[in-house]
Symmetry: D2
Subunit: 354 residues, 4 copies
């Protein structure tokens, strides 16, 4: 877990029993600068983590503890792998102790608290902290994250849609019609978490495909808020998520109309240039068809650009592992940045294929 | 659902929200003599069945009702697709109204009530009814079922192991060593039902394989009791169930040592002869390898006999759909028999492949 | 397979070893008017069909034959479940013998032979027959099919996109912008057939998701040709197919912009009215989310209409079983119509759920 | 791929297009002492490895080469991830150049060449080399491997059965009846390799379960030969492999009768002691139920011991990833040993769960 001589970051995890929690543990247990200090779960107090997750046998010897017992204030950083609302309740106390916070839930994703309250059905309890927090999409927001005490780790769908559209919007509205963007997104079942719900049962989700949030999904306002920051103006987005019978993986098919004045643009070159220095964003060669398994269990996100018959319809294909670049890997990427480590530290695992 | 002129059986289903319930509905809605009168669920009172199970849209227009509203006493037969313990609580009242009972749970499977109580953690509330009930494995018990008021529909694993061993035991202990039979059994996830439990989640059960009841499983005493009836004496069985990442399907690999005096037996012929007249038991040609998809969604059970290098080790392979021959199809086969209909009525669907 | 007294249709199947072939056999073996006379396969000459497809044991006792041995000319109808190009080579001879033809490949789908030749890389060998053939999408083309000698059974994707858009186009361009329709479509792996190809291996396609024909797919011109017939003018369609790790099932998410003058339209009512009399098209209640398992192994296609926030974006969700309504079930629906049988004959199986 | 200062091993891979090949690449690209020099494929000469396996983009920049172009003689070690028969054809030449060989096929697994020839249908072309080769199951054969020039990497099934039985046999026949051992084994589909075969298609293998080698399997003689080495005498084994609808994973359920004189043995303690120092063999606590996902993509193998009701039947459950500990990971473990590196070098990845 640790290598002699390297600077050690003392880490706490709140709510480590879910899938983003175990994925944090998998990655942190292989991170040379991570020193796991505490992991909390009210329900499983006293249980060795490796009893619940036998893949960690011999690698993680912590036990779950109640939040009261865990000395979170002594950590350098605390990850919240909890339901929405938990991080904001504990943020101010931790900040007082100079502990940095990375929230994998939604508490620090939306700057507009009215939007937060409408979608998450709870008031925001620390708008002051929120205002100083950073939206944790490293490739778009590196500088702010590096200096932040609190990071709101992005939602899984937003990560794919934002990275898939950023090169088209960052310079202002010049390439695509921003009034009618369509994101047809597909997620593996682990995105629903480890909650015992009928809809996530094997016998319900296997050998099946469906759309599930056509009437509205919490990631819609998050994507829109960030797209508008990028574009510097209003953006119209249609977003339909679907459920795929696979454990991990997320795939977004994004449709945008190219503006008449931009028809001569070399979009392949535009994307390649934009992401040239990024370790985790792979713009594949023209004509490529990324698949989710090519990023399975890795922090990479792969993009391919298509333009059928050279017309005015742009299609951007984006693949990631929803639990890694879409959640826990991205959180660690944020941590690396916040603590001045090379961004890829502990995140260089090669995707599992087949 | 019904064809003019045919005798109609008035049918009630108690607890129709689970997988054996919806499977009963699928099959009964295609049964020419079935007249569905009521289906109960306390929790879903008033909900159209087809709202929960859209495959039944346009085919079943009943709503779930509380047991109190459902006029079960006016039915000819009531199926219990409920947790263990429900059928025995209602049996005496229904019998008073001359309603026949087919219980898909365990209340009428074990004649030894002490064994029942040990494994199901509840006293048996109507041992008198139990004594007169029939064990509903048609191929082994046809005559008794035809005259029964109450049938205990067999467990899924017992169906495969009993039909896989019956030809070897029915004539007394003459073919195999009955002190050391091994049944290594594998089930699809639907066998765990539609309960929201973490272990049955897609992200837990998919792309995974495990044994799960090595320390003891409720079907063990049920199999043993029936094997002893067949063999006319004690039988020693090792039974290990496993969980397979597929929705439907059950496969049992049964190992038995051939007795020295039986080494010349033609076991292929023995099995073929035993099941020659059976509509739903298919003894495949020598050397066959049945797969579960060849019985998917059908009431057939396929058997193949192997004897490596002609030695003294007999291997019997048995495949069925756990929800059909292992549960709801078998229940309807029992109903047909109890009401004097041809045994295959409404059960002739061809398996879905691929 | 047959019921005494019913008119019997003598049936031949050319190329019955693939998935559409076995699915024809499954359905025809349960069809009261079907009399299977011959099934051809050069490679498997002499092999009992049930040896290759054990789900048919006891139900189909035919053997595969070479085309030369099979007396196809004596059939009333011949289904071609073959690669593209086979049906057109044999059509004229069969027609001479008064045998009707239903081709499940593409030979009689595209009226524009130049388009056919561009996409299928072969000249069309009987344009005269093609001109008199009917496009076999019953719900759109009932009258022409009833009188046809040759039917081109639609592709799987076209079935979903055409039925999902027909109510919006049949009255001319009045509801949606026909210059920019997007169809984001997802198919189970059986759509690729039973060919031994690396991309269709379990270890490649399982636990994975990808787009696969972004640069062009053969179903694109087929959909466009038919949409233009419906709309009476040019239609612009973007079509991206994706591969889902499930055996059967197809799901299309169709995006269309509502024209300003049509913003007051009740699209739910429009669709319900259009398909009110259709046995196999189910317009689900407003807000529904169809899933592919609700049509698994059945000939039904389910549609749901969404309009997020009542805006000008219409989303049509369409689910079918690609092997049934998308192929073999539809072919039998065509046969029923061609032979004057009730359209649902032999196609009333309830979908398998779970 | 390499870390400055560490001793570098020059590595060639013959036949790198299959699943054991890409798994070698995944692991070696993360191995601090591995210097990939060449990877051969006749068919894909000139193709960048990362074009076939996009998970390796940015990590492996080699192209496939024909064996002629690849300077295998200059490597320190060559892995053969080829069909049976390739390694033995090239072994003598490589040995002449002082290149060590690790064969992932069967050429150096069976010391009895008559048995090899019977099962693999080819004569053994270098029995002299075979005689000096080591059977590469590190935990059983460490010393011999460390000094070997040629290692036959074990089959996947043999790895589980041998490690599951070794503690019971190493001291001679004292614990179990060695005349009737049963190994009921289950494998994920990747075990069949990346060959385009109908039986391995998604639509054939998914949502399905079957036995497949009941009449005889090539791993049977390999297991038996090694069991007899361990036991110092004849061993009778019944071995039935099954196919599980998952990509990776292997699970063996082993049944053995405890000898009367061994009934007092603490088998849990026996196994724990035997494997106490082993990095990759995890004897789980008494009562555990290992699942394959707990070793997915890792080199660990987990064992649990069961003894129902304390009787004389011993059940040993063994789980591994067939592509890692069952193939490529084990091969690298052998390499580490042969080159004097710590055995776990480059193999410490935590299993992927979920």
């Amino acid at each position: 877990m640790t290598s002699a001589g390297a600077a050690q970051i003392k880490i706490g995890i709140v709510g480590g029993t879910g899938y983003t929690g175990v994925e944090l543990l998998r990655l942190l247990s292989q991170h040379p600068n991570a020193q796991l200090k505490a992991i909390t779960s009210r329900k499983e107090d006293g249980m060795p983590v490796a009893d619940m997750y036998p893949n960690l046998r011999g690698r993680v010897d912590l036990c779950f503890q109640t939040p009261e017992k865990a000395a979170l204030e002594e950590c350098d950083v605390v990850f919240f792998a909890t339901p929405h609302g938990v991080a904001m309740a504990q943020a101010e106390n931790l900040l007082k102790h100079n502990v940095r916070i990375i929230d994998l839930a939604a508490d620090f994703r939306l700057q507009d608290t009215r939007v937060f309250e409408r979608w998450y059905k709870m008031p925001h309890s620390c708008p002051g902290v929120l205002k100083q927090s950073a939206y944790g999409l490293v490739e778009l927001n590196r500088k702010q994250i590096a200096g932040a005490q609190v990071v709101g780790n992005p939602g899984c769908y937003p990560t794919t849609v934002l990275l898939g559209l950023a090169p088209l919007l960052e310079g202002g509205v010049q390439y695509i019609d921003t009034t009618r963007i369509i994101a047809d997104c597909k997620s593996g079942v682990s995105g629903a978490g480890r909650k015992a719900e009928v809809g996530s049962l094997f016998s319900e989700a296997s050998d099946n495909f469906k759309a599930y949030g056509a009437a509205g999904h919490r990631h819609h306002p998050e994507i829109t808020e960030q797209l508008q920051v990028l574009a510097g103006g209003p953006v119209g987005l249609t977003f339909v998520p679907h459920l795929v019978p696979m454990i991990r993986g997320m795939f977004s098919t994004i449709y945008a109309r190219i503006l008449p004045q931009a028809l001569d643009t070399d979009f392949q070159a535009l994307f390649e240039k934009r992401y040239a220095g990024e370790a985790f964003v792979d713009v594949m060669p023209a004509g490529s068809l990324p698949d989710t398994r090519s990023v399975r269990a890795s922090n990479h996100l792969r993009i391919a650009i298509h333009r059928p018959n050279g017309g005015d319809q742009l299609i951007i294909l984006v693949a990631q592992d929803n639990l890694v670049k879409g959640a826990s890997g991205q959180a660690i990427q944020n941590m690396n940045l916040m603590f001045g480590l090379p961004e890829s530290t502990g995140l260089e695992q090669v995707a599992i294929l087949p």
